[in-house]
Amino acid sequence: MKLKWRDVTTEAKLLLIGIPVLLWTIIPVYHMFLFAISERDQATSGRLWPQNPTLQNFETVFQQKHFYLNHFWVQLGNSLWIAVAVGLLTLFIATTAAFAISRLKVPGGRTVMNLALFTYFIPAAFLAVPMYKTMSVYGLLNSRWSLVLAMVTIASPYCIWVLKQASDKLPWELDEAARIDGATPLQLFRLVYLPLMVPSLVAVGTYALLLAWNEYLYGFLLLSNEQDLTLAVALGNFLAADDSPWELLMATGFIYALPPAAIYYAFKRYMVSGLTAGAVKS
């Protein structure tokens, strides 16, 4: 009997932590969702579930029937295009660098790794200031390539580091066997290295893709034509006026948040092990 009482208090204590954690986590997201499915003027009624839940806001967004949403589909496309471009470019740059440093033992590889780590530790908002000026020197301002290049710069150091950690763990005998068989470096890369690295490649590719999709600051600085904006920047522009249509903003935000959340949960297995393994080591 005594033992059982202790079990009850343990469970109660756990719930006492769990319930606040649940509320804390869910409230901002639920508030957004509630607005997205509420009629205008109904959302602030204080109900936990709207009286007449509606998909009308999503319809308005999809049909671009509001001043703020005139370019919704183009902006969604921009976000997608930029995210995919950043993911692919970063993957290419990081994989080649990690392969050269870790497997080909290129002279100066350690220095390259340190340069990448140094870049990783520059606070993003600090680098944004000279990056803006640099893009104007290069004549890339207002081109979506400026955002792609900036995001590749920010994403690749961490990807190189994670890939290098993972490559270092591959058995060295594989490379030796391939060399003895007369494989060229390119064959070793394509036929041995890449297939073994797939889980890490998925992790860093997704990381770079999500980083670019989620980015606000660099898009806000580097792009300015309505047509070129990413969805993130377009959402921020809703703030320009006090009488913003909040229910539409929340519906758009919900659409914008859905793909990264879905990708994250789909690749959770890779993401968590791939991205936390390195951190724990230190």
Binding site: V29, M32, L104, L127
Partner: protein, 285 residues
């Protein structure tokens, strides 16, 4: 290079295929580094060369306020966040079905982009229509405070927003650290009748200390670069009283005062560079 090798120059060894490909494969990243890191950083430092910029910066009352805000933000938000993360990492070790389900939901703030959720909170805090003040009015008939119009409250909410967003990540990191501790150590301690606090003090903390420190320093750098939590919630207002360095630099940039923006960043380097150096030593092992 020693003098002996200098004295007897050997014919240059032809580059092997492997050496050639190794060099070729680092070229893409080196290009990115030279064109998009080295040049911008060098150019930025060059823009910040004039002492007049610093004089102007120190005369700006907003800069002084920003420096204090930044320090408060770093010290308060990071420590609270890391302590909660350390505590929750222990909570998520429990094997219950509902804790597993909660862990999945708990990642949500980290998995979704910050813009929509920050704007969602911003609207919750709206003094007239926001859900918080509507509820206060319904319950008490009184008008709630104008949350974001008070610099202290506004900065506090920015810190809460920052904690909300990054807590899941650090909890996961520390959870991974806790899971690396062998269970036998806890079992042995239980047999000896150790309390939970003693287990934490003598087993958990000694093996987590390094990770906790590394995480705190890394979080310091990332928090310094956190633009969204402040800008999207308060916009630096009211009256530019809630800026942190990340938003102030961008404010100067938007006002076409890039020299001031770079000077503000340079002023923070004595704090940033030691952390960068320490982290590089840790991670490049």
């Amino acid at each position: 290079m020693s003098t002996a090798t200098l004295a007897t120059p050997r014919p240059r060894k032809p580059l092997s295929t492997w050496g050639f490909w190794g060099r070729l494969f680092v070229v893409p990243y080196l290009l990115v580094f030279l064109v998009l890191v080295l040049f911008p950083v060098g150019y930025g430092l060059w823009l910040a060369r004039s002492p007049a910029s610093y004089a102007k910066l120190f005369e700006d009352p907003i800069f002084f306020r920003t420096a204090i805000n930044t320090i408060v933000f770093l010290v308060v938000a990071i420590n609270i966040k890391m302590m909660i993360a350390l505590y929750l990492s222990g909570f998520f070790l429990h094997t219950r079905w509902w804790i597993k389900a909660l862990a999945v939901l708990f990642i949500l703030p980290w998995a979704v982009p910050s813009i929509p959720t920050i704007l969602s909170v911003r609207f919750m805090l709206n003094p007239e229509w926001g859900v918080i003040n509507s509820t206060i009015f319904r319950l008490t008939g009184l008008d709630g405070p104008n949350w974001l119009n008070d610099p202290t409250l506004a900065l506090s909410f920015s810190m809460l927003m920052h904690i909300w967003k990054s807590l899941p990540f650090w909890t996961l990191i520390l959870l991974a650290g806790r899971m690396a501790i062998p269970a036998e150590q806890y079992e042995a301690a239980s047999v000896d009748g150790a309390s939970n606090w003693q287990k934490f003090k003598y087993i958990t903390w000694p093996s987590m200390r390094g990770l906790y420190l590394t995480s705190t320093l890394l979080s310091t750098i990332w928090t310094l670069g956190d633009f969204n939590s402040v800008y999207l919630l308060t916009g630096g207002g009211p009256a530019d009283l809630t800026h942190v360095l990340a938003t102030l630099g961008i404010r100067y940039l938007r006002l076409d005062q890039i020299e001031l923006a770079m000077a503000a960043i340079v002023v923070s380097l004595p704090l940033v560079l030691p952390i960068v150096y320490f982290m590089m030593k840790r991670l490049s092992k």
